[in-house]
Symmetry: C2
Subunit: 339 residues, 2 copies
């Protein structure tokens, strides 16, 4: 089959590779209904993350099971499934505590930008729908695999409550999903920090009540002006840079919470600054598997439409165009059609 | 009057100073029943904190009101009061949110190691008892001013729950109060990290179920062995060094919480480490004023005995001996008698 392989900075190709096979009794093979490009795929694409040889890209996926290993019990061939970008066993103490993204047997999904993919620990990772979903819901179901879950976790970690005020730092796909999540959790005031018209519009559609275009200290000053001078109850940090993290910390009120989901690159936090800030901090890879059953309910009942975050579709052989558009911020998020 | 003044590293004296006076209509003057030396007083005493001239020491206090400014409404001369080490207005949005320790008009108490002290913003800072308390409860009431509140906040920020497991890093007075707090909050397993016999004994008396004498990686390994291999639900960091902070982070389970109350000195945290740790982090000066009414109830009803943390008493003229004993870890905490 042909699959997406990153060979070096900016060098993304659709290469001929071997079809995935069952390697362990706990594996499943799925035929992907669609795949997509993640903001985090841009770190190695931009040369900002070390690579050990060519990388098989793609960790967001949904599709139909074609084969399962002998030990797999909860999914079977023919079922439509969505899985987390974090492979989890479902049985360790961290999984049982609700933290599958810190599973003691954790692996990160790879090779998902391809027609077929191998999913290890299928029982602990995949959730099947009762029947095959309508075609138009595929983008939203695909979003549940990572981007929706990551934005949701940002809001969850930032402890968004009914009636509270939430600030979203970052207007990428994750930030927009954070807006959607804050709205679903009942935030009364949702302030999206964005200077891009198309993203502002989608943020407003997803539930943002205010847009702040300023960044850094100016952005923080605007947030303080909108939040009684002390900052927001909840701040969702969806970027991963030092500037974004400090913006997030400074935009929260004392006793407020910051959920940070942008993988930090070059971020360092001074202990005494954190101490006197007196704000809750929680980050990490999203525990998507914990959220998935609720996500499927909300998507299948058309209560939420996270799939709208995809504003570009490319066919798999044309995947390089999708990366380029996201790298240049011409697309929010690219869906890859398997054809 | 004579009061405690730090002139430089290790140079603590009982000097003749002016009596405190009402300076603002919101001030109160109190005659201290007792005062004490805080672990944080040792930072400047040891030369580890910059000083701008001689420092009037002491921020833990309780006593009888002798005079109030014209605007003070909630306390009056003759009443016994306990106040927070953080002066707070009680009316700003942070105070109303339950975060008096981040009051927008915040000041830190000083000059409390003396027979009389001026307390600014008396209405927002002091809590009066219904009647004069029995003499033997003075040490516990004094502890409520900071050390009990700080240990309590460590447990609160670390989200100790009934039935959970809590680890306490640091066997100073604050750590011991953290043990007391975790016990009151219902922790089923309380692991005190200590290598000092007297402190271990007091930790056990306050409710510790396990003592771990190892530190650093060895200490963390012991904690993991006691907590199903993944770490504790809650960790109370009561030291403030890089080693203690990393020990605390590594001793918590994913999804668990670290409450850090040792003022960080030279602590720096890597963003990506924090991200993948996936643990809640909350620190800061304790919101003692929020807790004070409950503390007074628990102390006056003799439900808790935080005053037992004082294992040395000195008369005010002899205050230097109290500092020396704490600096050399020969005393856990020194009470200063006003005579």
């Amino acid at each position: 089959m042909r699959a997406t392989v990153l060979h070096g900075t900016g060098d993304i190709r659709c290469d001929e590779v071997e079809d995935p096979k069952i390697q362990l009794p706990t594996d499943a093979i799925i035929k992907l209904s669609a795949s997509c490009i993640c903001g985090s795929d841009l770190w190695p694409y931009r040369g900002l993350q070390p690579m050990n040889g060519p990388m098989h890209m793609g960790h967001e996926y949904c599709g139909v099971v074609t084969e399962v290993g002998s030990a797999v019990k909860t999914v079977k061939p023919g079922q439509f499934v969505v899985g987390s970008f974090v492979i989890s066993c479902g049985t360790c103490v961290n999984c049982l505590n609700g933290w599958p993204s810190s599973c003691v047997n954790r692996e990160f999904m790879s090779g998902g930008q391809a027609p077929f993919a191998r999913v290890p620990n299928a029982d602990g990772t995949l959730v099947a729908t009762a029947e095959l979903p309508p075609e138009d819901l595929i983008p939203s179901l695909l979003a549940a695999s990572d981007v929706l879950g990551t934005g949701w976790y940002a809001a969850d970690a930032a402890r968004v409550q009914p009636g509270s005020t939430a600030v979203v730092v970052g207007d990428g796909a994750v930030g927009l999903m954070g807006v959607l999540a804050a709205k679903q959790m009942g935030a009364a005031k949702i302030i999206a920090m964005s200077r891009h018209k198309a993203r502002q519009e989608l943020a407003l559609e997803y539930g943002a009540t205010h847009i702040v275009t300023e960044r850094g200290d100016e952005g923080v000053a605007k947030i303080l002006a909108l939040t009684g001078g002390v900052g927001a109850d909840s701040v969702l940090e969806c970027v991963g840079t030092q500037e974004a993290m400090m913006q997030a910390i400074n935009a929260a009120r004392p006793g407020g919470s910051i959920g940070f989901v942008g993988v930090p690159h070059g971020v360092s936090l001074d202990g005494q600054m954190l101490f006197f800030a007196q704000k809750n901090l929680l980050g990490g890879p999203a525990p998507v598997r914990r959220y998935l059953p609720d996500f499927l309910d909300m998507i299948l009942s058309r209560k939420i439409n996270p799939g709208k975050v995809f504003d570009l579709e490319v066919d798999l052989p044309d995947v390089a165009r999708g990366y380029k558009a996201m790298d240049e911020r011409k697309a929010i998020k690219t869906l890859i059609r398997m054809g």
